[in-house]
């Protein structure tokens, strides 16, 4: 599966929409080719354009609010077995994908950009339209929520 389609599918959970957004991003990338400075890799640059499209889509569709309750999740200490389960989940990427789909959209996008695509924080903030502090919170909450889901699946 092409990189852009894969990224969009993870972000939107919608096969048709992800194909459309990936195509839109490609068209936009070609149209803006002159503005590619080479500061990042081409892949990162195009993923950034795609992320803009995805975020625009989320905003239009009015993203659902985050469900809070982070302190309770933070207090839930994993047992040794839980930790083993998370490690085992590394082998089972489908489980990680499923857990990722259950995250709030902005947290999922932050994890996809920073942890999966390894986009620079600064670029990630620009794409998501958030401050550096907000990005740190998104990463912290997203990883914690994902960890909890992997432990309990």
């Amino acid at each position: 599966m092409p990189v852009l389609h894969r990224f969009a599918l993870r972000a939107t959970r919608d096969a048709e929409l992800s194909r459309d957004l990936a195509q839109e991003a490609l068209v936009a990338a070609v149209a803006q080719a002159g503005s590619f400075s080479g500061r990042s890799s081409l892949r990162t640059w195009v993923v950034g354009i795609l992320s803009h499209k995805i975020i625009d889509h989320f905003r239009r569709r009015a993203a659902r609010p985050s469900d809070g309750g982070d302190d309770a999740q933070l207090l839930a200490t994993p047992s040794a077995e839980d930790v083993e389960r998370v490690v085992a989940a590394r082998q089972e990427l489908a489980a990680v994908d499923r857990a990722l789909q259950a995250l709030p959209e902005l947290e999922r996008m932050a994890l996809l950009l920073v942890d999966v695509e390894e986009v620079e924080r600064e670029d990630c903030c620009r794409v998501l339209g958030v401050s550096a502090t907000h990005l740190r919170v998104l990463l912290h909450r997203g990883r914690n929520r994902l960890r909890t889901k992997l432990e309990h699946d």
Partner: protein, 63 residues
């Protein structure tokens, strides 16, 4: 050790993994906490495993 204290430390674990800037005293406190608090050590290991799992998705097609 109070639960509240652990919660406060855990908020920095993610930053620590990312190499984000953390004030020196806070950094030392988190580091010290991670040598003595078993639940937080487990929590940190679990968080690191989650991050490694996310990295592995990069070249893997979603189901």
């Amino acid at each position: 050790m109070t639960d509240r204290f652990c919660v406060k430390q855990r908020r920095y674990f993610s930053d620590r993994m990312d190499g984000a800037e953390i004030p020196l005293l806070r950094r030392l406190l988190v580091r010290l906490h991670l040598t003595i608090c078993r639940p937080c050590i487990r929590y940190n290991r679990s968080l690191e495993a989650t991050r490694v799992a996310l990295k592995a998705l990069r070249d893997h097609d979603p189901p």
